[in-house]
């Protein structure tokens, strides 16, 4: 077990704080480790630091990083028992060549299993398959009393629903058993199409998403007027052996090959290169380059994790960092949704990556983010002037139609905004108080948003 004092922040590189980072293995998580922490600044688990804000840091306290654990694949039942410190990248490298895929993947492979559960992450298939937590059978949780508990919807259901999406505030997830998706190849068949405006985009997604497992739209938030909300829509599914043999015979010779490439890493010390003119130019080129309609084969990395090919891409925003704003609004709130997009486009802030997905039913996690509706994710440079006012107004509009914000991305909202968005917050706090009466589990986010 190693302890170092480190400055920690999220992927947006904002709001850092200094904590004692403890690197521990699963059997080093004992009652001794947590005794006395409640009276001090407490502790929180940290995975690979891909949350954008402050949930995996704990100023003046302890941050626990679990060593990657074992991976036990059970092909007969189609499940894997895996240490919570293992990343989706490591897991995929193990299971993809053997004909399995993770049930849900976000836009990066570099999140841990523990983080995937604690944020109840979602991917491009939420409308079809739900969030990550829906595919976890059981997990082992290290709780404030020093015990390792087996938690599942049947064993300790209250703790289960509090831990799914609970941002680590019920304890440290030690390992989990996850149901996997069988695949025949490591490629996807993807339909790509250019959509000229928002109304057309919403219509295309509503009418066609049910035909695909995966669906996501990249939206140009700089375009205004008639082109407001123009987008590139990509939808697809895993390629069967037959499809691959047909569309890409060369790839079909080694159908389950998985070797994700890394092209380049962004060096430290860059200023923010993503200025409005740069973003506008990029967006224009990207939109023009996209085909009107095209069906093709893409690798897992190309379809799911394109940004993983650029190491440390968050450095493109320079020292001031950036924030990622993600919210969901109900399907019928189309007018408000359009007004939000128009507001961002008119604001003069350069949003480089804006992603639109559709959510299906909730998972049942008390603080889990996905709920049926449209979810938009946009990146904004943190130093942009007037950003605070824009975000306050966006918050207001999102809440006004019954929407909410994603804790794994949040870096700017207030306790009131979270309370308004999460009707089961009090149930969550009750479980917290019962399972952790001394307040052992604490994070900067929990203090900032009053999740105590």
């Amino acid at each position: 077990m190693r302890t170092t004092r480190r400055e920690l922040c999220g992927w947006g590189r904002t709001s850092p704080s200094v904590a004692d980072l403890v690197d521990a293995s699963a059997d080093e998580l004992t009652a001794d480790l947590v005794s006395g922490l409640g009276a001090a600044r407490g502790a929180i688990a940290r995975g690979l630091g891909r949350a954008y804000g402050d949930p995996a840091q704990n100023g003046g306290g302890v941050v626990v990083r679990l060593a990657p654990g074992p991976i036990h694949l059970d092909a007969a039942s189609g499940t894997v028992r895996v240490g919570a410190g293992v990343s989706l990248d490591e897991l995929m490298r193990h299971i993809v060549p053997r004909g399995w895929f993770v049930p849900v993947t976000p836009g990066t492979r570099f999140v841990t299993i523990g983080g995937a559960i604690a944020s109840d992450i979602h991917g491009k298939n939420h409308h079809a398959d739900g969030s990550f937590g829906a595919h976890v059978e059981r997990l082992t949780l290290f709780t404030a009393d020093g015990a390792h508990r087996v938690v599942s919807p049947n064993d300790e259901p209250e703790l289960w629903w509090a831990t799914l999406g609970g941002m680590g505030l019920t304890g440290v997830i030690v390992e989990a058993t996850v149901r996997l998706l069988p695949i025949e190849t490591s490629r996807c068949v993807v339909d790509t199409e250019r959509v000229p405006n928002l109304d057309a985009l919403l219509e295309r997604m509503e009418s066609g998403d049910h035909r695909y497992r995966y669906s996501v739209a990249w939206v140009d938030l700089v375009a205004r007027g008639a082109a407001l909300g123009r987008a590139v829509l990509t939808r697809g599914d895993h390629a069967t052996l037959a499809e691959l043999a047909d569309l890409d015979p060369k790839a079909a010779q080694d159908p389950l090959a998985f070797g994700p490439p890394s092209l380049v890493a962004v060096p430290p010390g860059l200023p923010n290169v993503l200025s409005r003119p740069a973003v506008r130019a990029f967006n224009e080129l990207w939109y023009r380059k996209a085909p009107r309609f095209h069906r093709g084969v893409e690798s897992i990395t190309g379809f799911f994790h394109p940004l993983d090919m650029v190491g440390d891409w968050n450095r493109l925003y320079g020292r001031p960092g950036f924030l990622q704003y993600q919210f969901v609004v109900p399907f019928d709130a189309v007018d408000t949704f359009r007004s939000i997009i128009a507001m961002v486009a008119a604001s003069g802030h350069a949003s480089f990556l804006a992603v639109l997905k559709r959510f299906g039913p909730e998972s049942g996690g008390l603080m889990s983010f996905p709920t049926p509706g449209w979810t938009l994710t946009l990146d904004l440079p943190a130093a942009a002037p007037g950003l605070d006012e824009l975000l306050t107004e966006l918050d207001r509009r999102v809440l006004s139609v019954g929407g909410r914000h994603y804790l794994a991305k949040d870096a700017t909202t207030t306790p009131e905004v979270i309370r308004a968005g999460y009707p089961r917050l009090d149930e969550f706090l009750d479980v917290r108080r019962r399972i952790d009466p001394d307040g052992v589990w604490a994070s900067d986010q929990a203090r900032r948003l009053d999740l105590r």
């Binding site: 400055e7 200094v18 600044r41 704990n58 100023g59 003046g60 605070d388």
Partner: protein, 248 residues
């Protein structure tokens, strides 16, 4: 805990009746701001209801810069009541009478402006270190950069406070806690009312804006107005005869 656009949730003003302190809080106020603590010498003179900083709660606590023995307890008490401190502003300070040469009067001025700054600054730093985050904003002055006959006692206390603040900032490196030293020129406040304005004079709002920008850019030193950095840099090198001639 500050959010990603550097909006604080809790601000403490040591010397809560100060015009500069109030202006800075007003500048930093936002829907994110929950609590403002005004630490003042005479709490009964301050009506929390009359203080308006958006929707934030205002808490008034007793604080006497001239009583170092009380400072650790004052800070501990504030933390007990409001939790983590995001921004603490050291805003107390007295100008002293013009042409001050009385030893006792000077000693009292030094006690408030310098000794009080050291003792309260260290108490705050201890808490910020324990939190792993937070910024101490020290309202220093260009009067300390090079002292002149018309206010050398005051200038020397600010010089002391300034050196303490910058040194404290160095000692906090790597702890997550920061110090920002603000060096305004002449500012039109209750403290300077009736005096002749010096060149490069500013309003409290100017200082507040510079503090907000400095916090966002994580600066250690802020001059208000910014041109004073170059001006004072040159004036420090001026021969004594020139310096004395510039004095009013």
């Amino acid at each position: 805990m500050n959010n990603a656009v550097d909006q604080p949730q809790t601000i403490v003003v040591l010397g809560g009746t100060s015009d500069l302190g109030q202006a800075i809080v007003a500048q930093l106020a936002s829907p994110v701001l929950r609590t403002v603590v005004l630490a003042v010498r005479r709490p009964d003179d301050v009506d929390p209801e009359a203080q308006r900083f958006g929707g934030a709660d205002v808490v008034v606590v007793p604080f006497d810069a001239a009583e170092p023995a009380s400072h650790a307890a004052v800070i501990a008490d504030i933390v007990e009541r409001v939790g983590d401190l995001d921004v603490v502003i050291q805003a107390f300070g007295q100008l002293g009478v013009p042409g001050l040469v009385d030893p006792l009067g000077a000693a009292e001025l030094a006690q408030v402006n310098y000794v009080g700054a050291v003792s309260s600054g260290l108490a705050v730093a201890e808490q910020l270190r324990r939190q792993g985050h937070g910024t101490l904003v020290v309202l220093s002055s260009v009067a300390g950069v090079r002292t002149r006959a018309s206010n050398f006692v005051y200038g020397s206390t600010k010089a002391g406070q300034d050196a303490f603040a910058t040194g404290l900032g160095h000692s906090l490196a790597g702890t997550g806690a920061r110090v920002m030293t603000v060096r305004p020129g002449f500012v039109r406040t209750a403290m300077t009312v009736g005096m002749d304005e010096a060149p490069f004079a500013a309003d409290p709002a100017d200082v507040a804006a510079a503090v907000a920008t400095g916090l966002r850019r994580k600066r250690s030193v802020v001059w208000v107005p910014g041109v004073l950095r170059a001006v004072m840099g040159l004036l420090r090198l001026a021969p004594d005869v020139v310096w004395r001639r510039l004095d009013r």
